[in-house]
Amino acid sequence: MGELKTKLKEYRAKYDMKQGELAEKVGVRRETIIRLEKGQYNPSLKLAMDIAKLFGTTVEEIFSFDDD
């Protein structure tokens, strides 16, 4: 499996949302959001979908795998 790439930070900036706010909205801790943004944690499908739904986009748009 390739490396996890996320556009979470860009979407957060676009929606002017802090890590803590995003964490609270999707029901996780801020540490989890930090790990996600750094690509150090593979989220569950539910969490990925919750985040995508919050930003009004698709899971594939925010999360992808670098298969190089």
């Binding site: 802090k18 890590q19 803590g20 029901g27 996780v28 801790r29 801020r30 540490e31 989890t32 930090i34 790990r35 943004e37 750094k38 150090q40 944690y41 989220p43 569950s44 969490l47």
Partner: protein, 136 residues
């Protein structure tokens, strides 16, 4: 919900480590002073209270994953400490002072040790990366 009262989940495990160390200390003192280890029983209850206290953040999926890894690691070390080492010492007939003392270690110390190890491994796995940019 009062946000000011919610503490970081990592603090819970720091507290557990401190309480378990305190409990081991009390057990050692009780052993050498030949007094009742009632204080240590109190510590058990305190540890239980920490677990049910609703003052900490809720567990999320990353916490659950890290706790699973930490529990596995602590369990393996606990089994090695409590079963494998004493069995090996007896089979091998190691009669050195160290081996004899190891075999004589009460399981309660190993249990508290496992609690400490589990929380310590969790804290290591759950630490925030140093080079991450935090916006708060």
């Amino acid at each position: 919900m009062n946000k000011a009262k919610v503490m970081n989940y990592r603090m819970k495990h720091v507290l557990i480590i401190l309480l378990a160390l305190w409990a081991i200390g009390m057990l050692i003192v009780a052993r050498f002073q030949k007094v009742s280890p009632g204080q240590a029983v109190f510590e058990f209850l305190t540890l239980g209270a920490v677990h049910i206290a609703d003052k900490f953040e809720k567990k999320d999926e990353l916490v659950l994953e890290n706790l699973r890894k930490a529990t596995s690691a602590a369990f393996v070390v606990f089994v090695i400490a409590v079963l494998a080492v004493p069995i090996f010492c007896r089979i091998a007939g190691i009669e050195t002072l160290i081996a004899q003392r190891w075999v004589d270690i009460p399981y309660i110390y190993c249990a508290f040790g496992a609690v400490i190890l589990r929380s310590a491994v969790f804290l290591i796995l759950d630490r925030t990366p140093k080079n991450c940019v935090e916006d708060e």
